[in-house]
Amino acid sequence: MNKIKSLDDLRKMKQSLEHGMTIRENSNSPESLVQIRVAMATCGIAAGARTVMNTLIEKLEKEKIPAVVTQGGCMGYCYAEPTIEVKVPGKDPVVFGKVDSAVAEEIVVKYIKNGELIDGIIPVNYQSINEQK
């Protein structure tokens, strides 16, 4: 297949893509999709957030899970970067810490797909040392 270079190439690819696209019909209602936010501040990026983001996008596609992966700022868990926040429809958002590519794949398969809880969740009532009085 020829490589995509121009806007025309893109236009052609778009037509062939549209046929294969079914899962994206509900993209107008993001609530029905799994939403993942990758923390992408200096600490997260330095710890490997970009790799994790790439892995998540690939794995979600492979598992055919309709999802949106976005980026967020610093959540204050710099010690646990890379961190990601996962919001599965109908459930409360969960923040995972120390997410490398292997953990990211585990989260997709075990937590998102099978609904199992796994290690590495940062509790919602966690307080950083600065917040503790």
Partner: protein, 183 residues
Amino acid sequence: MNEISLHIIDIIQNSLSAGASLIRVIIDENLVHNLLSVTIADNGKGMTKEQVERLDDPFFTSRTTRRVGMGIPLFRQSAEQSGGDLVVTSEPGFGTTVKANFLNDHIDRPPLGEIANSMVLMISANPDKDFVFEYIYNGSSYIFDTVEIKSVLEELPLNDPAVIRMLTEMIDENIKDLKTQSD
């Protein structure tokens, strides 16, 4: 941060936090002048003169989730250790421009890294923002503009994995072309 691309992601995150709707990233690789410059310009809320002056203070940050901010200091360190410099210009209400210059052949210049992948990730993660990415190689340039891309893709979402792959390939191929044509 071992890639210039990662610094770029970091600065883009700052632009997004500043409420930018349009972010321009320009990479100018000039082998004749042995210069590699990276510019990130946004139309966010901008900073006052005093804020700009304090950017290199790691304990200055507008964020509330943590008390240190290393983004600009690290980027500056990267540029200065490569015989270059970093300049921030900003105007409240109009936006901020960060420009880093590197001596291209300096042994401490980090590699540019996965620039196409980095740009497309930012674009796909922020489909409602616009990005203009320009790559200049020895004077000839390639411009990737999400306004054009969006008008071609229409309802196809920018965060679709297949679209991400296509756009990354498109940027990579055009940069490769620029380089082979110029050499």
